[in-house]
Each structure stands twice: as structure tokens, then as C-alpha cells.
């Protein structure tokens, strides 16, 4: 009864002779939290860029929210949210200005922005900080704000590229609460991470090695299949054969 919002079929990206992503095929369902794992240089970011409509695939098929990644990148952009591994809000703007700007370029009306920003500020407990420049916020808050801004326009899917780099476990846990909230509202989460404890939070995960998806299942099943005590061991088992690295 689940409805697939991301489908890829032998999706490939080549740069000259180098095959960055080789024939990856998978589906992600609505409201699912899908972990996209892989060592550095495995091709995660390239794959994600193709799914976001930032990079045209070399071959294979993919649809995002029902739209084709070759021809309908504009519609895709309206239906997705994105948060990059680099912190991606404007530090010289205030919290409120950032919310207004990103709401604005996604075409939300002033009224929508007003409702959304009130809601968001209450949820994050940022009432005291709305008029402060983002640069003055602690990293954990910045990241939470960044995520909230990425889902401000109620996208069907949100792509998170290593969203929790450099924050402490407590903040990471709080960040994941936000992710669960969004997933409960039906937003599909596509997340890359290096933290194996985070991988455990996902509904399903895929592990990419040298451009190929080597494993794809729920964390529990993966552990069973590899007779591993935790995700760290699963990952190590798969990734140690990798030839590519950054």
C-alpha cells in the first residue's frame, strides 16, 4: 500500500572513463526514512545530485515524486527540499530573514510564510533569537533551523547530505526528532551519513561501495545477514573491499 516516491533503475553517471555511479536501482516509499551510506568517494553525493535534478544522469531511469530526472527537473525542484553538508543558511541574515527568503524563493505567499515561521520558531523554541543574526547561533541550532527551512515549503521528499556533521550526540538526537516529525507528516527523508548510530535510526539503508549499491535492507536484517552485532561491523565488512577513496 506504500507508494514509491523515488524510483531509480540502473541509474548511472560517468565522468569520462570514470564511472562515479554504476547502475543503481532502488525505490523509496512515501514517509520512509532512507539512509544512503557509503565511504568517501563511493558516489553518494553524485547519486544525490542526480536525484535533485542538479546533474543529468549518463544513463538509466529515475523518477522523483513522479517526475523524470531528465526532463522535469523544474517540477522536481518544487517538490523537494535539500540540506547540504555545508551549513547552508545566510549567516549575515537574521533567523526570520532566512525563513522569509527561502519561503519567498519557493513561492510561498506572505501569509503562508507568516504562519510557517511562527510555527517553526515555536517548535524550535527560537522566540528569543528571531531577530538575531544566524552567525550568533550555536551549530546545533543552526542545523535544526537549516532542516526546518528545507521542509518549509512542505516538499514531498527532503534530501539531507550529512546533516549532522560536527555536532554532539545529544543535539544529533534532537535533530533526529525533527526528522521523525517530518516523516510522520508524510515527508520522505533521504539521508546520507557517516554515523552508524544514525544509520540505525533509518527505516531502510543502502550501502554504496565504489559506485555500486552492495546492500539494501532494514538495519536489523542487514545485521542478521552479516552476522554482525551492529551497523559498524556491517559497514566495515562491505567497505573494506573498496578500491576508491577520496
Amino acid at each position: 500500500m506504500s507508494e514509491a516516491v523515488i524510483t531509480t533503475d540502473k541509474l548511472t553517471k560517468r565522468f569520462g572513463d570514470f564511472v562515479a555511479v554504476s547502475e543503481i536501482s532502488f525505490e523509496v516509499d512515501k514517509g520512509e526514512i532512507f539512509g544512503f551510506l557509503g565511504a568517501n568517494g563511493a558516489g553518494k553525493t553524485t547519486a544525490m545530485r542526480m536525484l535533485c535534478g542538479l546533474s543529468i544522469p549518463s544513463s538509466g531511469k529515475a523518477t522523483i515524486a513522479g517526475f523524470d530526472v531528465y526532463k522535469q527537473t523544474e517540477q522536481i525542484k518544487k517538490n523537494i527540499g535539500y540540506m547540504s553538508q555545508k551549513f547552508s543558511l545566510y549567516e549575515d541574515l537574521t533567523v526570520l530573514e532566512n525563513i522569509r527568503f527561502f519561503g519567498g524563493i519557493y513561492g510561498l505567499t506572505d501569509k503562508q510564510i507568516k504562519t510557517k515561521s511562527d510555527q517553526l520558531i515555536n517548535q524550535l523554541g527560537l522566540q528569543q533569537e528571531v531577530k538575531k543574526l544566524v552567525v550568533s547561533l550555536p551549530l546545533g541550532w543552526k542545523q535544526k533551523l537549516s532542516f526546518s527551512v528545507a521542509v518549509l515549503h512542505e516538499p514531498k521528499i527532503v534530501f539531507l547530505d550529512e546533516p549532522t556533521g560536527g555536532v554532539d550526540p545529544v543535539t544529533r538526537r534532537q535533530f533526529w526528532d525533527l526528522i521523525y516529525d517530518a516523516a510522520d507528516r508524510g515527508v520522505t527523508i533521504f539521508v546520507t551519513t557517516h554515523y552508524m548510530d544514525e544509520a540505525e535510526y533509518c527505516n531502510r539503508i543502502s550501502i554504496m561501495v565504489d559506485g555500486v549499491i552492495k546492500a539494501l535492507d532494514t538495519p536489523r536484517k542487514l545485521k542478521d545477514n552479516f552476522h554482525a552485532a551492529n551497523m559498524d561491523e556491517v559497514f566495515y565488512e562491505l567497505a573494506r573491499g573498496a578500491k576508491r577513496s577520496e
Binding site: 543529468i56 547552508s88 543558511l89 527561502f102 519567498g104 513561492g107
Partner: protein
Amino acid sequence: MKQFVIFIRKEFAHVLRDRKTLLILFGMPVVQILIFGFALTSEVKDARIVIMDQARDAASRQIISKIEASRYFEVDKTVRSNQEMKEALKQGDIRLAVIFPANFNYDLVHQNDARIQVIADATDPNNATTLISYINAIIQDYEADFNKTNNVPYRILPEIRFLYNPELKGAPNYVPGVMALVLMLVCVMMTAVSIVKEKETGTMEILLVSPFSPLKIIVAKAVPYLILSLVNVVTILLLSVFVLDLPVNGNIFLLFAESTLFIITCLVIGIFISVKTNTMQVAMLISLMGMMLPTILFSGFMFPIENMPLPLQLISNVIPAKWYYIIVKDIMIKGLGLGAIWKETLILAGITIFMLVISLKSFKIRLS
């Protein structure tokens, strides 16, 4: 459209909140205008001049041949009327006019009161003074030769007029130069840096993932600098008129139109640099070394282009600031209209379109 306005508002917030940017943006033109009074002298070779010889006698012909023989001057043509001479000077590449009155030889021999009129294009005062002193030397040289064969000392009095800039003020030279320099710096560097900054901080990725199209992003990033640069033009002109007593002789609207064209040229160059670079330091370095230096060297406002070796003279032709400098001088100082500067305008427009096409091309390559 609403998204566009929101974007531009954000862009202004970036500029107006950064004290350093503000200082460069509005402090620099003022400081430059006020300190650029220091004149630079240098030798001038092969200056093109016109001669009006109403005497056509032995003395005038001998002086003309001496002028022709000098390496400083190149006689472009001989003119017959005042009208023709004025036209020649207006073209801008004629630096000097030498006029021999009728009966020159007679006056010299019989009245001992021979006069030569020398009119110099003094929009570039250093150039004009230098050329005048060369002419003086040639005339004195002739005088000495002439007196050797005579017993009575005869005298020739050159009457000198500095055209367009009779007081030889430096301002007519450096105000247009500073305008070119400031606009180049503000537009090229600021645009390049502001776009590359978004790349560096990762916000560019977020923008590219949004439905706001890449082309719109670029235009929206350039518009604020167009507006701020026009503010700078106004500042410089106000300083020039009220502090330096240098009025705008030509049409002010034409001057603004031409300035807008030059600003767009610079913005396009800035965009090109931003497409090609990934860090703010590199963008800044390229803007400074690749743009500022050639602008200072080749625009003609500090170093006379006529003096440079031919390859450098050729290079100077691709420097947009050179053409803008000529245009501003012609409009502001000489008070000329579009008729006199259409060629320069066309060249500037050509450079702009060329840069626009190659930036768009490389921008598209970047995106795929």
C-alpha cells in the same frame, strides 16, 4: 517577479550589513577622487598634430619640416580653416594644432614680431604641457639657426592655448579615470566575490535546488551592484562638480547611459570570473590582478598609450576601461555628443556581448 524582489532585497542586506564592503563601495571613490591629484609626467612620442599654414613662406616651411623631422610629432594633416582645425581636435587623437599667421616670414624679418599660435588638447594636461615644451624647443632651435646667419636678433613668439582645460587642472584627466577604475573595481570584484561566496558557503547549492532558475540567480545577484554603481557615479560627479569645480559639459543623460553600459560590461566580467572560480580569494585575486592592473595600465589615464610598444597598444584595445575613459572625457570635458563617441560605444557594447555569450556558455557547462 516577487521572488526576484525578495532575492534582490536579500542581496542588499548582504551589502549593507558588511562594513568592509560598504567602506570599499562608498569610501573608495571619495578617497580616490581626492587623492588622485598627483600628476604623472612622462615623455610623449609621435603625438599626432595638425598644422594650419596661412603664411606658406620660407620661414613657416622650415619650421614645419623641423616639426616633421622631430620624433615627438607626427603631422596628421594640414588644415585650411579654423573650422577644419576644430573638427580635427574634436576627434580626440589630435593632440596639438600649430597655426602660422599670414605674412609670418615678413613679420619675422621686418617687424621682428613673428607669432605662432599653438593650441593643445589639454584634457590630458601632462601630455599637453610636455608637447608644448617640445614645440617651444623646436621654435627656439629654428630661431637660433635663423639668427646665426643674421646680425639682428629676430624673435618668434609662440602663443599658446590649452584647449578644453585652460588652467591645466589635473581633474579633467583623473575624474574620468577614477570613474572607470571605481566602477571596474566595484562591479567586477563585488559581483564575482558575492557569487563565489554563495558557492563557498554552500548556499548556491540550495539556490540551485530551489525552483528559482540559475539565470535568475545570476541576474538577481548583479542588479544590486548595478544600482550601487550608479550611486557611485552620482557621488563622483557631485564631488567633481562641487569639490573640484569640474562641470559636466556634455549631456548628463548620455553620460549616465554610457556609464550604465560600462557597468554592465563590468558585471558580465564579474559573472564570468565567478563562474570560473570556486573560492573568494581566487575570485578577488583575479579581479584585482586581471582587471584592476590592466585598467590602471592601459586605460590611458595614468600612462599615455601612445608611448607604449605596439603589442601593448594593441592589448589596450581590449580593455573596456580604455573606451569608457575616452567616452567620459569626451562627454564630460569636451562636451561632445553621441556623434563623437559612437565608435567607442559600439566597441564597449561589442565587448559586453562577447563576454556575456562566453559566460553563459561556461555557466551552462558548469550546470550539467
